[in-house]
Amino acid sequence: MAQEAHGAIYDLLAVRGVSRRDFLKYCSYVAAMLGLSEAAAPAIAAAVEKGSKLKPALWLNGGSCTGCTESMAQVDSPDVATIVLELLSLNYFETVMAAAGEHAEKNIQDTIAAGGYLLIYEGSVMTGEDGNTLLVNGHKGTDILKEAAESADAIIAVGACAVDGGWVAAHPNPAGATGVQAFLDVEGVKTPVVNIPCCPMNPEWVVAMVVQWLLVAEDDPATFLAKTELLGKSYDDRLTGRNVTLLYPKYVVGSTIHDNCPRRGHFENGDFVTEFGSAEEAMGYCLYKVGCKGPQTFTQCPITRWNRSVSWCVQSGAPCIGCGAISWVDNNTPFFKRLSSMQMGDGLGYVQPGSVAAVVGGVAAAALVAHGLGMKAAGRIGPDGPPTETVKKHDRKRQAKGGDK
Protein backbone atom coordinates (compact mmCIF):
# COMPACT_ATOMS: atom_id res chain seq x y z
CA MET A 1 0.00 0.00 0.00
CA ALA A 2 1.01 3.53 -0.75
CA GLN A 3 0.93 4.39 2.87
CA GLU A 4 3.46 1.70 3.70
CA ALA A 5 5.67 2.57 0.73
CA HIS A 6 5.85 6.14 1.85
CA GLY A 7 6.11 5.20 5.47
CA ALA A 8 8.72 7.76 6.42
CA ILE A 9 6.68 10.85 5.64
CA TYR A 10 3.45 9.45 7.10
CA ASP A 11 5.23 8.41 10.26
CA LEU A 12 6.49 11.95 10.50
CA LEU A 13 2.97 13.26 9.94
CA ALA A 14 1.52 10.88 12.49
CA VAL A 15 4.06 11.96 15.08
CA ARG A 16 2.95 15.57 14.49
CA GLY A 17 -0.71 14.59 14.76
CA VAL A 18 -1.48 15.25 11.08
CA SER A 19 -3.67 12.75 9.26
CA ARG A 20 -2.91 11.57 5.72
CA ARG A 21 -6.15 13.22 4.65
CA ASP A 22 -4.98 16.58 6.03
CA PHE A 23 -1.73 16.12 4.19
CA LEU A 24 -3.36 15.51 0.80
CA LYS A 25 -5.78 18.37 1.40
CA TYR A 26 -2.84 20.64 1.98
CA CYS A 27 -1.15 19.42 -1.18
CA SER A 28 -4.20 20.26 -3.31
CA TYR A 29 -4.34 23.65 -1.60
CA VAL A 30 -0.74 24.30 -2.58
CA ALA A 31 -1.56 23.11 -6.11
CA ALA A 32 -4.38 25.64 -6.34
CA MET A 33 -2.10 28.40 -5.15
CA LEU A 34 0.48 27.51 -7.81
CA GLY A 35 -2.19 27.63 -10.47
CA LEU A 36 -2.03 23.87 -11.05
CA SER A 37 -5.04 21.62 -11.28
CA GLU A 38 -6.18 19.49 -8.37
CA ALA A 39 -4.72 16.54 -10.28
CA ALA A 40 -1.30 17.87 -9.42
CA ALA A 41 -1.89 17.22 -5.73
CA PRO A 42 -0.49 13.64 -5.82
CA ALA A 43 2.59 14.92 -7.64
CA ILE A 44 3.08 17.51 -4.95
CA ALA A 45 2.59 14.84 -2.32
CA ALA A 46 5.23 12.78 -4.11
CA ALA A 47 7.61 15.73 -4.19
CA VAL A 48 7.05 16.26 -0.51
CA GLU A 49 7.57 12.57 0.18
CA LYS A 50 11.00 12.67 -1.40
CA GLY A 51 11.83 14.18 1.94
CA SER A 52 14.91 12.05 2.33
CA LYS A 53 16.67 14.17 -0.28
CA LEU A 54 17.02 17.37 1.68
CA LYS A 55 17.67 20.64 -0.09
CA PRO A 56 20.24 22.66 1.80
CA ALA A 57 19.12 26.18 2.62
CA LEU A 58 20.30 29.21 4.52
CA TRP A 59 17.94 31.59 6.28
CA LEU A 60 19.79 34.84 6.78
CA ASN A 61 18.47 37.81 8.71
CA GLY A 62 19.38 41.31 7.62
CA GLY A 63 17.98 44.47 9.14
CA SER A 64 14.77 42.83 10.29
CA CYS A 65 12.47 42.64 13.28
CA THR A 66 12.34 38.84 12.93
CA GLY A 67 8.63 39.25 12.25
CA CYS A 68 8.85 37.04 9.16
CA THR A 69 10.46 34.30 11.23
CA GLU A 70 7.61 34.75 13.71
CA SER A 71 5.14 34.50 10.86
CA MET A 72 6.83 31.30 9.71
CA ALA A 73 6.79 29.86 13.21
CA GLN A 74 3.45 31.32 14.25
CA VAL A 75 1.59 28.03 14.58
CA ASP A 76 1.14 26.72 18.09
CA SER A 77 1.06 23.11 16.98
CA PRO A 78 3.16 21.68 14.16
CA ASP A 79 1.23 21.57 10.90
CA VAL A 80 1.76 20.47 7.35
CA ALA A 81 3.57 23.65 6.38
CA THR A 82 6.20 22.96 8.99
CA ILE A 83 6.74 19.48 7.59
CA VAL A 84 7.04 20.77 4.04
CA LEU A 85 9.61 23.25 5.22
CA GLU A 86 11.51 20.36 6.77
CA LEU A 87 12.26 19.37 3.19
CA LEU A 88 14.77 22.12 3.51
CA SER A 89 17.81 21.43 5.55
CA LEU A 90 18.09 24.86 7.10
CA ASN A 91 21.78 24.87 7.91
CA TYR A 92 21.54 28.32 9.39
CA PHE A 93 18.45 29.94 10.86
CA GLU A 94 19.48 32.49 13.45
CA THR A 95 16.32 32.56 15.52
CA VAL A 96 15.58 28.86 15.83
CA MET A 97 18.84 26.97 15.26
CA ALA A 98 20.43 25.07 18.11
CA ALA A 99 24.00 25.92 17.15
CA ALA A 100 25.53 29.12 18.42
CA GLY A 101 28.64 31.26 18.10
CA GLU A 102 31.57 30.22 15.90
CA HIS A 103 30.00 26.84 15.29
CA ALA A 104 26.88 28.38 13.79
CA GLU A 105 28.81 30.85 11.65
CA LYS A 106 30.90 27.93 10.35
CA ASN A 107 27.65 26.40 9.02
CA ILE A 108 27.23 29.37 6.69
CA GLN A 109 30.75 28.98 5.32
CA ASP A 110 30.35 25.20 4.89
CA THR A 111 27.06 25.62 3.03
CA ILE A 112 28.46 28.32 0.76
CA ALA A 113 31.50 26.16 -0.01
CA ALA A 114 29.29 23.16 -0.87
CA GLY A 115 26.99 25.26 -3.09
CA GLY A 116 23.62 24.15 -4.49
CA TYR A 117 21.50 25.72 -1.77
CA LEU A 118 18.52 28.04 -1.51
CA LEU A 119 19.06 31.34 0.22
CA ILE A 120 16.12 32.77 2.13
CA TYR A 121 16.80 36.33 3.15
CA GLU A 122 14.69 38.14 5.71
CA GLY A 123 14.98 41.85 6.43
CA SER A 124 16.50 44.85 4.72
CA VAL A 125 20.03 45.14 3.41
CA MET A 126 21.59 47.81 5.62
CA THR A 127 24.29 49.59 3.68
CA GLY A 128 24.60 52.67 5.92
CA GLU A 129 27.99 53.68 7.41
CA ASP A 130 29.68 51.59 4.73
CA GLY A 131 27.74 48.51 5.83
CA ASN A 132 28.67 48.88 9.51
CA THR A 133 25.03 49.42 10.51
CA LEU A 134 24.63 45.65 10.60
CA LEU A 135 27.41 43.45 11.94
CA VAL A 136 27.16 39.74 12.62
CA ASN A 137 30.08 38.19 14.46
CA GLY A 138 32.27 41.04 13.25
CA HIS A 139 31.27 40.61 9.60
CA LYS A 140 29.22 43.14 7.70
CA GLY A 141 25.73 41.94 6.86
CA THR A 142 26.22 43.18 3.30
CA ASP A 143 29.37 41.04 2.87
CA ILE A 144 27.61 37.94 4.22
CA LEU A 145 24.66 38.46 1.85
CA LYS A 146 26.88 39.07 -1.17
CA GLU A 147 28.96 35.96 -0.50
CA ALA A 148 25.92 33.77 0.19
CA ALA A 149 24.02 35.16 -2.83
CA GLU A 150 26.84 34.50 -5.30
CA SER A 151 26.90 30.74 -4.71
CA ALA A 152 23.15 30.21 -4.14
CA ASP A 153 20.90 28.49 -6.69
CA ALA A 154 18.22 31.07 -6.04
CA ILE A 155 17.22 33.60 -3.42
CA ILE A 156 13.81 33.99 -1.84
CA ALA A 157 13.55 37.51 -0.44
CA VAL A 158 10.93 37.21 2.28
CA GLY A 159 8.98 40.17 3.61
CA ALA A 160 8.68 43.81 2.57
CA CYS A 161 12.14 44.66 3.97
CA ALA A 162 13.92 42.12 1.79
CA VAL A 163 11.84 43.24 -1.20
CA ASP A 164 12.69 46.95 -1.20
CA GLY A 165 13.91 47.87 2.28
CA GLY A 166 10.42 47.94 3.81
CA TRP A 167 9.82 50.15 6.82
CA VAL A 168 13.54 50.15 7.62
CA ALA A 169 14.03 52.12 4.39
CA ALA A 170 11.23 54.58 5.21
CA HIS A 171 12.16 58.25 5.21
CA PRO A 172 14.76 59.38 6.31
CA ASN A 173 16.36 55.91 6.14
CA PRO A 174 19.38 56.54 8.40
CA ALA A 175 20.52 52.91 8.11
CA GLY A 176 20.81 53.15 4.33
CA ALA A 177 18.45 50.20 3.99
CA THR A 178 17.44 48.77 0.63
CA GLY A 179 16.09 45.54 -0.83
CA VAL A 180 17.96 42.39 -1.83
CA GLN A 181 17.44 42.85 -5.58
CA ALA A 182 18.54 46.52 -5.50
CA PHE A 183 21.65 45.58 -3.54
CA LEU A 184 22.56 42.64 -5.79
CA ASP A 185 22.04 44.82 -8.91
CA VAL A 186 24.67 47.21 -7.60
CA GLU A 187 27.02 44.35 -6.67
CA GLY A 188 26.51 42.70 -10.05
CA VAL A 189 25.28 39.40 -8.60
CA LYS A 190 23.01 37.66 -11.12
CA THR A 191 21.43 34.97 -8.91
CA PRO A 192 17.64 35.00 -9.46
CA VAL A 193 15.65 36.59 -6.62
CA VAL A 194 11.99 35.81 -6.02
CA ASN A 195 10.24 38.36 -3.82
CA ILE A 196 7.55 37.51 -1.29
CA PRO A 197 5.89 40.76 -0.17
CA CYS A 198 4.11 41.90 3.01
CA CYS A 199 5.08 42.72 6.53
CA PRO A 200 5.44 39.99 7.61
CA MET A 201 5.30 37.70 4.61
CA ASN A 202 2.72 34.95 4.42
CA PRO A 203 4.29 31.54 5.21
CA GLU A 204 2.02 29.75 2.70
CA TRP A 205 3.52 31.78 -0.14
CA VAL A 206 7.00 30.68 0.87
CA VAL A 207 5.86 27.05 1.14
CA ALA A 208 4.39 27.30 -2.36
CA MET A 209 7.71 28.61 -3.70
CA VAL A 210 9.63 25.79 -2.03
CA VAL A 211 7.25 23.21 -3.50
CA GLN A 212 7.52 24.91 -6.87
CA TRP A 213 11.28 24.69 -6.66
CA LEU A 214 11.36 21.02 -5.71
CA LEU A 215 8.45 19.74 -7.80
CA VAL A 216 8.00 21.81 -10.94
CA ALA A 217 11.55 23.03 -11.33
CA GLU A 218 13.20 19.80 -10.19
CA ASP A 219 15.82 21.76 -8.31
CA ASP A 220 17.07 23.57 -11.40
CA PRO A 221 17.32 27.41 -11.42
CA ALA A 222 16.73 27.81 -15.19
CA THR A 223 13.67 25.52 -15.16
CA PHE A 224 12.41 27.34 -12.11
CA LEU A 225 12.51 30.71 -13.87
CA ALA A 226 11.00 29.26 -17.05
CA LYS A 227 8.16 27.35 -15.42
CA THR A 228 7.15 29.63 -12.57
CA GLU A 229 4.58 32.31 -13.37
CA LEU A 230 6.48 35.37 -12.31
CA LEU A 231 5.50 38.99 -12.59
CA GLY A 232 8.15 41.68 -12.95
CA LYS A 233 7.54 45.03 -11.28
CA SER A 234 9.98 47.89 -11.61
CA TYR A 235 10.58 50.73 -9.21
CA ASP A 236 13.17 53.44 -8.70
CA ASP A 237 15.22 52.55 -5.66
CA ARG A 238 15.79 55.78 -3.78
CA LEU A 239 18.99 54.61 -2.08
CA THR A 240 20.87 53.25 -5.08
CA GLY A 241 19.17 55.56 -7.59
CA ARG A 242 18.64 52.59 -9.89
CA ASN A 243 15.58 51.27 -11.64
CA VAL A 244 15.16 47.81 -10.14
CA THR A 245 12.98 45.02 -11.52
CA LEU A 246 11.54 42.75 -8.85
CA LEU A 247 10.27 39.27 -9.65
CA TYR A 248 7.16 38.22 -7.74
CA PRO A 249 5.18 34.98 -7.96
CA LYS A 250 2.15 35.97 -10.02
CA TYR A 251 -0.28 34.17 -7.72
CA VAL A 252 0.77 36.48 -4.89
CA VAL A 253 0.61 39.89 -6.60
CA GLY A 254 -1.77 39.31 -9.51
CA SER A 255 -4.80 41.20 -8.20
CA THR A 256 -5.69 43.81 -5.63
CA ILE A 257 -6.85 43.09 -2.09
CA HIS A 258 -9.93 45.18 -2.90
CA ASP A 259 -10.95 42.87 -5.76
CA ASN A 260 -10.93 39.79 -3.55
CA CYS A 261 -12.11 41.42 -0.35
CA PRO A 262 -14.94 39.77 1.61
CA ARG A 263 -16.14 43.28 2.54
CA ARG A 264 -16.27 44.34 -1.14
CA GLY A 265 -20.04 43.97 -1.33
CA HIS A 266 -20.43 46.55 1.42
CA PHE A 267 -18.14 48.88 -0.53
CA GLU A 268 -20.39 48.70 -3.59
CA ASN A 269 -23.49 49.18 -1.43
CA GLY A 270 -21.95 52.17 0.27
CA ASP A 271 -21.92 50.64 3.77
CA PHE A 272 -18.90 52.13 5.48
CA VAL A 273 -17.21 52.00 8.86
CA THR A 274 -16.57 55.53 10.12
CA GLU A 275 -15.38 54.68 13.59
CA PHE A 276 -13.32 51.84 15.00
CA GLY A 277 -15.11 49.65 17.49
CA SER A 278 -18.49 50.58 16.02
CA ALA A 279 -21.37 48.27 15.21
CA GLU A 280 -20.66 48.78 11.49
CA GLU A 281 -17.18 47.36 11.91
CA ALA A 282 -18.57 44.26 13.59
CA MET A 283 -21.18 43.90 10.84
CA GLY A 284 -18.38 43.60 8.33
CA TYR A 285 -18.89 46.96 6.63
CA CYS A 286 -16.22 48.33 4.32
CA LEU A 287 -13.15 49.96 5.89
CA TYR A 288 -12.53 52.35 2.97
CA LYS A 289 -13.28 55.50 4.97
CA VAL A 290 -10.93 54.58 7.78
CA GLY A 291 -8.01 54.44 5.38
CA CYS A 292 -8.07 50.95 3.85
CA LYS A 293 -5.31 50.72 1.22
CA GLY A 294 -6.79 47.56 -0.32
CA PRO A 295 -7.72 49.26 -3.61
CA GLN A 296 -4.06 49.92 -4.44
CA THR A 297 -2.35 46.96 -2.82
CA PHE A 298 -1.64 43.93 -4.97
CA THR A 299 -1.48 40.85 -2.76
CA GLN A 300 -3.33 37.61 -2.30
CA CYS A 301 -4.11 38.19 1.41
CA PRO A 302 -7.94 37.79 1.20
CA ILE A 303 -7.57 34.37 -0.45
CA THR A 304 -4.59 32.83 1.36
CA ARG A 305 -5.37 34.58 4.63
CA TRP A 306 -3.14 34.22 7.65
CA ASN A 307 -2.50 32.03 10.68
CA ARG A 308 -3.38 28.83 8.86
CA SER A 309 -6.11 30.62 6.89
CA VAL A 310 -8.02 31.59 10.02
CA SER A 311 -8.30 35.29 9.30
CA TRP A 312 -6.46 38.36 8.05
CA CYS A 313 -6.27 42.09 8.72
CA VAL A 314 -9.45 43.25 6.99
CA GLN A 315 -11.49 40.28 8.14
CA SER A 316 -10.56 41.07 11.72
CA GLY A 317 -11.72 44.68 11.30
CA ALA A 318 -8.47 46.51 10.56
CA PRO A 319 -8.01 48.43 7.31
CA CYS A 320 -5.27 47.23 4.97
CA ILE A 321 -2.21 49.41 5.50
CA GLY A 322 -0.72 48.37 2.16
CA CYS A 323 2.33 46.49 3.47
CA GLY A 324 2.60 44.59 0.17
CA ALA A 325 3.38 47.77 -1.81
CA ILE A 326 6.68 49.30 -2.82
CA SER A 327 7.93 51.95 -0.34
CA TRP A 328 4.87 50.99 1.63
CA VAL A 329 5.40 53.14 4.71
CA ASP A 330 6.16 56.38 2.85
CA ASN A 331 3.42 55.71 0.32
CA ASN A 332 0.67 54.73 2.76
CA THR A 333 0.98 56.88 5.89
CA PRO A 334 -1.12 57.98 7.68
CA PHE A 335 -2.60 54.49 7.72
CA PHE A 336 -6.08 55.59 8.77
CA LYS A 337 -6.53 58.33 6.16
CA ARG A 338 -7.86 57.79 2.64
CA LEU A 339 -4.90 59.42 0.89
CA SER A 340 -1.34 59.45 2.09
CA SER A 341 0.17 62.72 3.25
CA MET A 342 2.71 64.56 1.18
CA GLN A 343 6.01 65.68 2.60
CA MET A 344 6.48 69.42 2.16
CA GLY A 345 10.26 69.32 2.46
CA ASP A 346 12.79 68.11 4.99
CA GLY A 347 11.62 68.96 8.49
CA LEU A 348 8.59 70.94 7.25
CA GLY A 349 6.13 68.21 8.11
CA TYR A 350 3.38 66.55 6.13
CA VAL A 351 0.14 67.73 4.61
CA GLN A 352 -2.97 65.96 3.34
CA PRO A 353 -3.76 66.45 -0.38
CA GLY A 354 -7.29 67.52 0.60
CA SER A 355 -5.94 70.44 2.69
CA VAL A 356 -3.74 71.60 -0.19
CA ALA A 357 -6.69 71.42 -2.58
CA ALA A 358 -8.99 73.35 -0.21
CA VAL A 359 -6.37 76.12 0.11
CA VAL A 360 -5.88 76.28 -3.68
CA GLY A 361 -9.65 76.38 -4.29
CA GLY A 362 -10.18 78.99 -1.55
CA VAL A 363 -7.37 81.22 -2.80
CA ALA A 364 -8.69 80.97 -6.38
CA ALA A 365 -12.21 81.94 -5.28
CA ALA A 366 -10.94 84.85 -3.16
CA ALA A 367 -8.69 86.03 -6.01
CA LEU A 368 -11.62 86.06 -8.43
CA VAL A 369 -13.79 88.05 -6.04
CA ALA A 370 -10.94 90.54 -5.50
CA HIS A 371 -10.37 90.70 -9.26
CA GLY A 372 -14.06 91.37 -9.88
CA LEU A 373 -14.02 94.25 -7.38
CA GLY A 374 -10.91 95.56 -9.13
CA MET A 375 -12.63 95.39 -12.52
CA LYS A 376 -15.54 97.33 -11.08
CA ALA A 377 -13.26 99.91 -9.44
CA ALA A 378 -11.34 100.34 -12.70
CA GLY A 379 -14.61 101.24 -14.38
CA ARG A 380 -14.38 98.35 -16.83
CA ILE A 381 -17.81 97.00 -16.04
CA GLY A 382 -20.56 98.97 -17.65
CA PRO A 383 -22.75 98.95 -20.73
CA ASP A 384 -19.79 99.66 -23.01
CA GLY A 385 -17.05 97.92 -21.09
CA PRO A 386 -13.47 99.13 -21.13
CA PRO A 387 -12.09 100.98 -24.14
CA THR A 388 -10.29 98.65 -26.56
CA GLU A 389 -7.08 99.54 -28.32
CA THR A 390 -7.39 100.25 -32.02
CA VAL A 391 -3.84 99.15 -32.88
CA LYS A 392 -1.82 96.47 -31.10
CA LYS A 393 0.84 97.89 -28.79
CA HIS A 394 3.44 95.85 -30.65
CA ASP A 395 2.41 97.49 -33.94
CA ARG A 396 2.30 100.97 -32.41
CA LYS A 397 5.87 100.55 -31.16
CA ARG A 398 7.02 99.33 -34.55
CA GLN A 399 5.34 102.20 -36.31
CA ALA A 400 6.98 104.64 -33.88
CA LYS A 401 10.33 103.17 -34.84
CA GLY A 402 9.61 103.80 -38.49
CA GLY A 403 7.68 100.63 -39.36
CA ASP A 404 8.69 97.95 -41.83
CA LYS A 405 10.97 99.00 -44.59
Partner: protein
Protein backbone atom coordinates in the same frame (compact mmCIF):
# COMPACT_ATOMS: atom_id res chain seq x y z
CA UNK B 1 -14.79 93.32 -25.53
CA UNK B 2 -17.87 93.89 -23.58
CA UNK B 3 -20.27 96.00 -25.52
CA UNK B 4 -20.35 93.79 -28.59
CA UNK B 5 -23.34 91.81 -29.79
CA UNK B 6 -23.59 88.01 -29.42
CA UNK B 7 -24.79 86.15 -32.51
CA UNK B 8 -25.48 82.48 -33.04
CA UNK B 9 -22.55 82.29 -35.43
CA UNK B 10 -20.23 82.58 -32.40
CA UNK B 11 -21.54 79.27 -31.00
CA UNK B 12 -23.48 77.13 -33.51
CA UNK B 13 -26.11 74.81 -32.02
CA UNK B 14 -23.83 71.76 -32.17
CA UNK B 15 -21.33 73.48 -29.89
CA UNK B 16 -24.07 74.69 -27.58
CA UNK B 17 -24.97 71.02 -27.17
CA UNK B 18 -21.37 69.83 -26.67
CA UNK B 19 -20.93 72.59 -24.09
CA UNK B 20 -24.03 71.40 -22.23
CA UNK B 21 -22.75 67.83 -22.30
CA UNK B 22 -19.37 68.99 -20.98
CA UNK B 23 -21.00 70.92 -18.15
CA UNK B 24 -23.32 68.11 -17.09
CA UNK B 25 -20.55 65.50 -17.28
CA UNK B 26 -18.13 67.71 -15.36
CA UNK B 27 -20.64 68.21 -12.55
CA UNK B 28 -21.37 64.47 -12.44
CA UNK B 29 -17.67 63.62 -12.52
CA UNK B 30 -16.72 66.09 -9.80
CA UNK B 31 -19.62 65.08 -7.55
CA UNK B 32 -19.14 61.33 -7.95
CA UNK B 33 -15.38 61.83 -7.77
CA UNK B 34 -15.65 63.60 -4.42
CA UNK B 35 -17.91 60.81 -3.23
CA UNK B 36 -15.48 58.09 -4.31
CA UNK B 37 -12.65 60.06 -2.72
CA UNK B 38 -14.52 60.18 0.56
CA UNK B 39 -18.07 58.78 0.81
CA UNK B 40 -19.74 61.59 2.77
CA UNK B 41 -23.05 59.75 3.03
CA UNK B 42 -24.05 56.09 2.83
CA UNK B 43 -25.49 53.83 0.20
CA UNK B 44 -24.24 55.51 -2.96
CA UNK B 45 -20.86 53.97 -3.87
CA UNK B 46 -22.06 51.67 -6.64
CA UNK B 47 -24.11 54.47 -8.21
CA UNK B 48 -21.28 56.99 -7.79
CA UNK B 49 -18.81 54.68 -9.51
CA UNK B 50 -21.25 53.93 -12.32
CA UNK B 51 -21.94 57.64 -12.74
CA UNK B 52 -18.20 58.37 -12.77
CA UNK B 53 -17.51 55.83 -15.53
CA UNK B 54 -20.49 56.75 -17.73
CA UNK B 55 -19.81 60.50 -17.47
CA UNK B 56 -16.14 59.86 -18.23
CA UNK B 57 -16.87 57.88 -21.40
CA UNK B 58 -19.41 60.48 -22.51
CA UNK B 59 -17.07 63.41 -21.95
CA UNK B 60 -14.20 61.69 -23.77
CA UNK B 61 -16.43 60.87 -26.76
CA UNK B 62 -17.85 64.40 -26.62
CA UNK B 63 -14.38 65.96 -26.56
CA UNK B 64 -13.19 63.83 -29.46
CA UNK B 65 -16.34 64.71 -31.42
CA UNK B 66 -15.85 68.41 -30.59
CA UNK B 67 -12.29 68.34 -31.95
CA UNK B 68 -13.34 66.58 -35.17
CA UNK B 69 -16.33 68.92 -35.60
CA UNK B 70 -14.00 71.91 -35.34
CA UNK B 71 -12.66 70.97 -38.79
CA UNK B 72 -16.13 70.95 -40.38
CA UNK B 73 -18.28 73.49 -38.53
CA UNK B 74 -17.96 77.19 -39.27
CA UNK B 75 -17.97 79.72 -36.44
CA UNK B 76 -17.70 83.50 -36.21
CA UNK B 77 -14.23 84.88 -36.80
CA UNK B 78 -14.67 87.80 -34.42
CA UNK B 79 -16.62 89.05 -31.46
CA UNK B 80 -19.99 90.41 -32.49
CA UNK B 81 -19.53 89.30 -36.08
CA UNK B 82 -21.64 87.35 -38.57
CA UNK B 83 -18.61 86.48 -40.66
CA UNK B 84 -17.68 82.80 -40.32
CA UNK B 85 -14.73 80.52 -40.99
CA UNK B 86 -13.80 76.91 -40.10
CA UNK B 87 -13.88 76.62 -36.30
CA UNK B 88 -10.41 75.15 -35.87
CA UNK B 89 -8.91 78.34 -37.35
CA UNK B 90 -10.72 80.38 -34.71
CA UNK B 91 -9.71 77.94 -31.99
CA UNK B 92 -5.98 77.87 -32.67
CA UNK B 93 -3.89 81.03 -32.21
CA UNK B 94 -4.31 83.47 -35.12
CA UNK B 95 -2.63 86.52 -36.60
CA UNK B 96 -4.77 88.72 -34.35
CA UNK B 97 -3.45 86.98 -31.20
CA UNK B 98 0.16 87.55 -32.14
CA UNK B 99 2.18 89.69 -29.69
CA UNK B 100 -0.89 89.97 -27.45
CA UNK B 101 -0.14 87.40 -24.72
CA UNK B 102 1.72 89.69 -22.31
CA UNK B 103 -0.58 92.59 -23.14
CA UNK B 104 -3.56 90.44 -22.17
CA UNK B 105 -1.89 89.45 -18.91
CA UNK B 106 -1.08 93.10 -18.23
CA UNK B 107 -4.71 94.04 -18.88
CA UNK B 108 -6.00 91.48 -16.39
CA UNK B 109 -3.53 92.47 -13.67
CA UNK B 110 -4.44 96.14 -14.18
CA UNK B 111 -1.10 97.17 -15.69
CA UNK B 112 -2.79 98.64 -18.76
CA UNK B 113 -6.04 100.48 -19.22
CA UNK B 114 -7.27 99.54 -22.66
CA UNK B 115 -8.56 96.11 -23.46
CA UNK B 116 -6.50 94.30 -26.09
CA UNK B 117 -7.33 93.47 -29.69
CA UNK B 118 -8.17 89.80 -30.00
CA UNK B 119 -9.90 87.41 -32.36
CA UNK B 120 -13.04 85.56 -31.17
CA UNK B 121 -10.88 84.32 -28.29
CA UNK B 122 -7.98 86.13 -26.63
CA UNK B 123 -4.53 84.55 -26.29
CA UNK B 124 -4.99 83.49 -22.66
CA UNK B 125 -8.40 82.09 -23.49
CA UNK B 126 -7.03 80.02 -26.38
CA UNK B 127 -4.21 78.63 -24.23
CA UNK B 128 -6.73 77.66 -21.54
CA UNK B 129 -9.21 76.07 -23.98
CA UNK B 130 -6.49 74.16 -25.83
CA UNK B 131 -4.94 72.99 -22.55
CA UNK B 132 -8.20 71.35 -21.51
CA UNK B 133 -7.83 68.83 -24.37
CA UNK B 134 -4.65 67.06 -23.16
CA UNK B 135 -5.78 67.62 -19.56
CA UNK B 136 -9.07 65.79 -20.14
CA UNK B 137 -7.36 62.87 -21.87
CA UNK B 138 -4.69 62.79 -19.15
CA UNK B 139 -7.44 62.81 -16.53
CA UNK B 140 -8.97 59.75 -18.16
CA UNK B 141 -5.53 58.14 -18.32
CA UNK B 142 -4.86 58.66 -14.60
CA UNK B 143 -8.37 57.36 -13.90
CA UNK B 144 -7.79 54.15 -15.86
CA UNK B 145 -4.45 53.78 -14.08
CA UNK B 146 -6.24 53.48 -10.71
CA UNK B 147 -9.23 51.50 -12.03
CA UNK B 148 -9.03 47.81 -11.08
CA UNK B 149 -9.73 46.14 -14.43
CA UNK B 150 -7.27 48.32 -16.41
CA UNK B 151 -4.56 49.26 -13.91
CA UNK B 152 -2.50 46.18 -14.78
CA UNK B 153 -2.44 46.92 -18.53
CA UNK B 154 1.08 47.79 -19.65
CA UNK B 155 -0.02 51.21 -20.89
CA UNK B 156 -1.27 52.17 -17.44
CA UNK B 157 1.03 50.18 -15.14
CA UNK B 158 3.99 51.90 -16.84
CA UNK B 159 2.60 55.27 -15.82
CA UNK B 160 1.87 54.06 -12.29
CA UNK B 161 5.45 52.89 -11.99
CA UNK B 162 6.69 56.23 -13.32
CA UNK B 163 4.90 58.24 -10.64
CA UNK B 164 5.97 55.85 -7.88
CA UNK B 165 2.88 53.74 -7.23
CA UNK B 166 -0.92 53.74 -7.37
CA UNK B 167 -1.27 55.98 -4.32
CA UNK B 168 0.66 58.75 -6.06
CA UNK B 169 -1.45 58.27 -9.19
CA UNK B 170 -4.58 58.61 -7.02
CA UNK B 171 -3.28 61.90 -5.59
CA UNK B 172 -2.46 63.18 -9.10
CA UNK B 173 -5.99 62.26 -10.23
CA UNK B 174 -7.38 64.10 -7.22
CA UNK B 175 -5.32 67.26 -7.81
CA UNK B 176 -6.19 67.27 -11.51
CA UNK B 177 -9.85 67.43 -10.58
CA UNK B 178 -9.01 70.65 -8.73
CA UNK B 179 -7.33 71.97 -11.87
CA UNK B 180 -10.67 71.49 -13.65
CA UNK B 181 -12.59 73.06 -10.77
CA UNK B 182 -10.33 76.13 -10.76
CA UNK B 183 -10.53 76.28 -14.58
CA UNK B 184 -14.32 76.25 -14.40
CA UNK B 185 -14.34 78.98 -11.76
CA UNK B 186 -12.08 81.27 -13.81
CA UNK B 187 -13.91 80.37 -17.03
CA UNK B 188 -17.34 81.21 -15.61
CA UNK B 189 -15.99 84.39 -14.03
CA UNK B 190 -14.25 85.76 -17.11
CA UNK B 191 -17.08 84.81 -19.46
CA UNK B 192 -19.66 86.68 -17.42
CA UNK B 193 -17.66 89.51 -15.85
CA UNK B 194 -19.02 92.20 -18.22
CA UNK B 195 -22.58 90.87 -18.64
CA UNK B 196 -24.50 87.61 -19.00
CA UNK B 197 -24.89 87.79 -22.77
CA UNK B 198 -22.24 85.06 -23.30
CA UNK B 199 -24.20 82.71 -21.03
CA UNK B 200 -27.42 83.45 -22.90
CA UNK B 201 -25.88 82.43 -26.19
CA UNK B 202 -23.98 79.33 -24.96
CA UNK B 203 -26.78 77.89 -22.80
CA UNK B 204 -30.02 79.16 -24.34
CA UNK B 205 -28.73 80.00 -27.84
CA UNK B 206 -30.35 83.42 -27.48
CA UNK B 207 -28.80 86.27 -29.41
CA UNK B 208 -28.36 89.72 -27.87
CA UNK B 209 -27.30 93.01 -29.34
Amino acid sequence: MAGHAHYREAHPLVFVITHWINLICMIMLAFSGFYIHYPFFGGFMGVARGMHFVAMYVIIINLTFRIIAAFFVKTATDLGSHQVDTDIKNWLPQEKNKHQFFETVKYYIFLRKEAVISAKYGSLQKIAYLATIPLTYLMAYTGFAIYGPTMTWGLFSGGVEMVGGPMNMRIIHYFMMWVFIVFTMIHAYLANIYNFKPSKIIFAWKESE
